[in-house]
Symmetry: C2
Subunit: 567 residues, 2 copies
Amino acid sequence: MRQSEMLLPTLRETPADAEIKSHQLLVRAGYIRQIASGVYSFLPIGRRVLRKVEEIVREEMEKAGAHEMLMAALQPAELWKETGRWDTFGPELMRLHDRHEREFALGATHEEVITSIVRDEVKSYKKLPLTVYQIQNKFRDEKRPRFGLLRGREFLMKDAYSFHDSFESLDGTYQRIFDAYSNIFRRCGLNFRAVIADSGAMGGKDTHEFMVLSEVGEDTIAYSDTSRYAANIEMAPVITEYTKSEAEPKDMEKVETPDQKTMQQVADYLGHTLEEGLKSIMFKVDDRFVMVVTRGDHEVNDVKLKNLYDASLIDLASEEETKEVIGAGFGSLGPVGVPEKVELIADLAVETMVNTTCGANEEGYHYKNVTPGKDFTVDKYADLRFIKEGDPSPDGEGTIKFARGIEVGHVFKLGKFYAEKMDASYLNDQGKSNTMIMGCYGIGVSRTLASIVEQYHDEDGITWPANVAPYQVHVLTLNPKKEEQAALGEELYQKLLAQGVEVLYDDRKERPGVKFADSDLIGIPLRVTIGKRAGEGIVEFKDRATKEQIELESDQVIDHVKQFLNK
Amino acid sequence: MRQSEMLLPTLRETPADAEIKSHQLLVRAGYIRQIASGVYSFLPIGRRVLRKVEEIVREEMEKAGAHEMLMAALQPAELWKETGRWDTFGPELMRLHDRHEREFALGATHEEVITSIVRDEVKSYKKLPLTVYQIQNKFRDEKRPRFGLLRGREFLMKDAYSFHDSFESLDGTYQRIFDAYSNIFRRCGLNFRAVIADSGAMGGKDTHEFMVLSEVGEDTIAYSDTSRYAANIEMAPVITEYTKSEAEPKDMEKVETPDQKTMQQVADYLGHTLEEGLKSIMFKVDDRFVMVVTRGDHEVNDVKLKNLYDASLIDLASEEETKEVIGAGFGSLGPVGVPEKVELIADLAVETMVNTTCGANEEGYHYKNVTPGKDFTVDKYADLRFIKEGDPSPDGEGTIKFARGIEVGHVFKLGKFYAEKMDASYLNDQGKSNTMIMGCYGIGVSRTLASIVEQYHDEDGITWPANVAPYQVHVLTLNPKKEEQAALGEELYQKLLAQGVEVLYDDRKERPGVKFADSDLIGIPLRVTIGKRAGEGIVEFKDRATKEQIELESDQVIDHVKQFLNK
């Protein structure tokens, strides 16, 4: 493609609103432009990369036995009302009326639509399992769109849905899609982890998120330093075996702790470390009050709490509620003498503690020498805390480290959630009606593109991996007014095209400095520069990522390009 | 693809709401499903055909020098307000609010968005011309969605936009896109015409519609029976040279015509043919009253009327308005003695008439022996009528015939309409600021798919042309329970796949009658049937379109398929 004919505007300055590298570079290098908050257009070079990612996704999905379809973005509200999500999805779901005042949602996801199609068309176990996918713009009215393509309001997504007559069948498809996703992200050149994730309110079983490792990621991954284990931090069980203190329990003693508000202040005041004290927090679990006690240095993992109670709603109690129930505010809570209507649960670490400290449920007082079992009775001990770096890995191999991740994919065993609500059933081989079992599988295609930039850039611009680069070779003529440069540039451009190489040809009448800077910014893997030595048939050959460069006779260019692309 | 694993539901019955063949067959053969009025999902086999049409469009657009991009569907209202179309587009434009109550349109078309991008990014004549396109779902809230994919509310469209610094440059791009469109529709196997169309309110110059010839088309095409001339009937000038009647003008005479309401009734009552009388109609042209007089057998072409006055609004006057201005209703109008405030214009044919009849502007009366020039004075004679079958072709070659057409494409010289309203300007080579000149070019991709079905079907189902068929070969095993059939089917399926042939393999456990009927309905060009003679290695080979069938040794199948596909 001749650069002179393309809409490929580059910027020297970093856009003021772009906080992260992928956002900055994709705008600066002419890949995307914002049209409204969280809404982007892909300029031609951006569209090319998006198409490459799309094609990788498509190929791997087809290999996994999924069939492409295309559902509409307009979705009748009635379908969303069947599953209850018209109300529960909240303001993220964009809604509109047609001219007849009929309500529609703009597709944020397509479980309702595909389930309605399948329940109408599939009546027999003979037509199961079935896996379909689509690649299509999705709409979610994010409260705070940001980070460019990472959190937008309209974005390109691949969503897939599978339907089954048994959980075993679902397991098989889940694994095939899981493998397809691994292939997709590997082919995109990404450093990623498939992490165990929270199945949330869907009532599903297994679920994994595919996380691209990146400091700008919004999720924390807990992974083993020696094995393949990785989980969203919310999901990692703690398998630490705590050693019971051998100290002799002393008599509990009430002490004044005036103006000591935080855990750290109290610990310092009473002369012990954070981990020697108890932390007590009041939760509301589906409208029941639960006090959760952990070691002072541990944090309550509310997903674990939610799962323990199989609750649909978990929230911190307000300070007001806490005072009303316990008689003291946040800074003075403790498990000793809590009223019966408050359930008392504690993390496993607490069970092993002796002579610890806790709030006295009275402003300005704490207890010293408190021992569980002796001074208070816990209704239930469970694994309730977040895993920490240094904890043993839940799979028993190695210890836990943390990393930040960008979620680019999600595979999910939905089970019967949608099929039950929407009455999607089939006749089994005995002629008996059964509810279908479903899985769903998403990839943020435009988000994946941005994640690649997060992992592939340097101080000068993007450094695309070859598989997804907009072009494979960037040919630059430094001074196209010089006949020998223009002629050699044109010759090489045509020769490379004839070999099926994707070439961007910078034939613009710009200064060499501008051309080099643009080329680095755009980030095509290989650069062929035609400059002063064009008359001698000498060109420069540069690897964008490594910055290695050599001079070459122009008739060696084709071979070198092929060699580079096949490596 | 194994049919047993696909979501490919066929119906024996014609859906009640499907009036035309493409709608009926695409639903019956499992290509599409409706999710709301005018909103369809493409099932896997439909998605395949759509992708093939998309790819043809993409290839030809790229050859024409257009670059693909992807704009968002969400469009801020502010942009539409800049061009005034927020108000003028009417209820067809779907609108919504985001969570912050900001107004958005759902992209019905993208002139505003692309113009806003280009005005921000292109400042110099050096970056012009520029042509971009996208393939994307569009939204239009049709008052009466119907005919399946032909008139939907969400549909796949290819839209392209070009920007220029001269009308010559626009002419060049227009011609290249025109040629690309011809290639696209030819490759889709369509019988189509590029017809001269109305440039409407856009202030543009040239515009052509690409019309697929079909009885279900909503437009009438006037075409020459011997040349390439074709125009939307609205746009065809009448070049008939009328011979002046040599009769001696008689004295005008007022006659009673009690209860004679229609032109035909009056003609019969007064004893002449329709074409011997005058027809008079009152129009409102931008709020001015205009009486248009034609020969009794001619129809006023309101596009010609609009263009004559360069008007922005043309409407029939109501009977009430007519009575108020003229003193008589529709059935008694005539050009004699109309008040001065009413402009009187007439079609060229009227000028040659002598001793004709017309309404007397008095209920129940007409005039006989009326002669233009003598009994009334016409302000202006012009070509104001619709062309008729049998008229000479406007290009001077042959005579006019009519056909019905489905508009699948439209190329349009927009000129400066959008660029002026949105202030899209560039600096020319003298450093002077000029307004950009634009073109826009659309193809209804999903509508094209439906048009193909309108032209390619028979009593049994669809008969896809090979270029856009979902698969090239349909392999049927009539009784997969018989080992030799299953084995031979599988062998041929694998062999064809290995040759890169796209194969749908009907491995379902269904009766042969069901398989044949489904296969005819789905319409893959070539069928290979493995039946009773599988044991002898004999299969049946059928051309879906011609219904020709032969028996073949199974080892000849690959060669025959290749031969068929290359023909």
